[in-house]
Symmetry: C2
Subunit: 277 residues, 2 copies
DNA sequence: TATACTAATGACTAATCGGTCATTTGTCAA
DNA sequence: TTGACAAATGACCGATTAGTCATTAGTATA
């Protein structure tokens, strides 16, 4: 597990410097200080590496955004907090941002295209949730347009973090974009993006996690872990999926056990969604 | 010259399908129906091909935008016309948009990074010019932010054209974004992007075309051409750069001769800037 | 027809790629 | 110390790459 992380981190560095196709497995193993054979003990192919990396790096990002959006901020500050956390992430992880937000070689590999589209859709859902909380039904017709504007602001202003490392006032940036977002939300009258359009674009992603895929995901995680508390929590949750037994509090506690360890962030997030917590 | 164009067009198709690194020279020559040797008669290396392609495809785009921005539209419709032409271009040339706006492998090659940054800066200048015409000094503090918002709208809504080919109402889209832009321009009070920031980001690009680089550019174009009118116009303009002789009208006419042929769009654009026409 | 020239070819090279596997190294309990 | 097992190695494989160059095809002039 640690070996996998080491490889993913060094690979990220190299992809960020040279791009995915231009980076060889040899180069990755050299930077890790391991042999070529050791690489293929962790990942079956080079493609499997990049798929794992997409999960590893994008999950954290999505979870961060979702946590802020569903957090206990008041209406005056939620937009500012949202933008602050987004750009803080861009600043702290500019290498992964460079690789996954810019190098879209990935889009030529079908499996990765679906994966990234699914993450994009997840992000869209979080933004829509935030807008609904903020403006309620005042935004019925235009909320998808406002969501697209927010994503546009992110993409445009991200270049400040991705292509240079100058010192920037995150607080000021967040305030500036929060104001712009609020202005757009309050004054826009001509919508263009409809719900149908959004679902059409996000088509490849499953609407909700099915019981079977979740069980499969659990098993994968159980197999890959050796830690005791986390493994036990995973197994109990797996049983709970197959045959509901415990109360909400216990389930929440088990999920919280997982959330404490970054490795299980994603499975915790998916479980919370499945159990409506 | 025709051979070069053929190669660039077929290469664009393949890059759009598979990405740059994943496409071999062999594949390109096969799709062109020429031999490998013939390819290397037109381009010294694979990298030289992609550099030429960036010029070939981005020049057209930049010139289109500049033409609309400096065109004779009235203030009510200029924003709508701007967005219409942008997205019409995305629709008509979705393959090149996919390659050059998404696949940023290019950013790992220094020469291309500078080139693309320079084109980005050119685009920014056009947008700023439009905003100054539209809002005059009402937008002094916030014009760079509004420019970043416009670029964000472009990036965000472009995905509708780049990743699918559903039928979209361009007129409605343009109106929707024009309204959003106008709202932002009128109501934004908290600026973040300063002129210093913009020039810092655009650093690699030369501020103005120097006499020498323009002369060099002219010579290159003269060597590559066989057409009579265009060649004569180029030679006369080159003499004019070295020793001013003719009136503005004559110069404008010579530039117009070039503008008629797509191959000389860029050199015409640069000359017009140099002679302040 | 003969000559001179350019345009085009594709077999070839050296290097590098992703991926494999017989072998070695390290780590336990007995 | 021994034997059993897992972890790690790197020489090796076939395939593919960008780029070269001796050769041929095509064309225009004399």
């Amino acid at each position: 597990m640690l070996k996998k992380q080491l490889i993913m981190e060094k690979a990220l560095e190299l992809f960020s410097e040279q791009g995915f196709e231009a980076t060889s497995v040899q180069q990755i193993t050299e930077r890790c200080g391991i042999s070529k054979g050791a690489f293929y003990l962790s990942f079956k192919t080079k493609d499997e590496l990049v798929i794992s990396m997409v999960d590893y790096y994008l999950q954290q990002f999505i979870i961060d955004v979702d946590r802020v959006v569903r957090g206990k901020y008041n209406k005056e500050t939620i937009l500012v907090e949202f933008y602050k956390s987004i750009f803080q992430a861009f600043k702290d992880h500019s290498a992964s941002a460079r690789v996954f937000f810019n190098e879209k070689v990935f889009l030529t590999k079908k499996e990765l295209f679906y994966k990234i589209t699914a993450y994009e859709a997840e992000m869209s859902k979080s933004i829509i949730y935030m807008l609904e909380q903020l403006y309620q039904d005042k935004l019925q017709k235009t909320k998808y347009d406002v969501m697209y504007c927010i994503k546009g602001f992110m993409k445009s202003y991200a270049e400040l973090f991705i292509f240079s490392d100058m010192p920037l006032d995150l607080e000021q940036l967040a305030k500036s974009l929060a104001e712009k977002t609020d202005i757009i939300a309050r004054h826009t009258t001509i919508p263009f993006i409809t719900e149908e359009l959004v679902t059409f674009i996000a088509k490849p992603c499953e609407q909700d996690i099915s019981k079977d895929t979740l069980l499969q995901l659990m098993e994968q995680n159980i197999d890959n872990t050796e830690d005791s508390i986390e493994k036990e929590s995973l197994e109990l949750l797996k049983q709970e999926i197959e045959k509901p037994t415990y109360s909400k509090a216990i389930i929440k506690g088990l999920i919280e056990n997982l959330r404490l360890n970054p490795v299980y962030h994603w499975i915790a997030y998916v479980c919370a969604k499945y159990f409506n917590i």
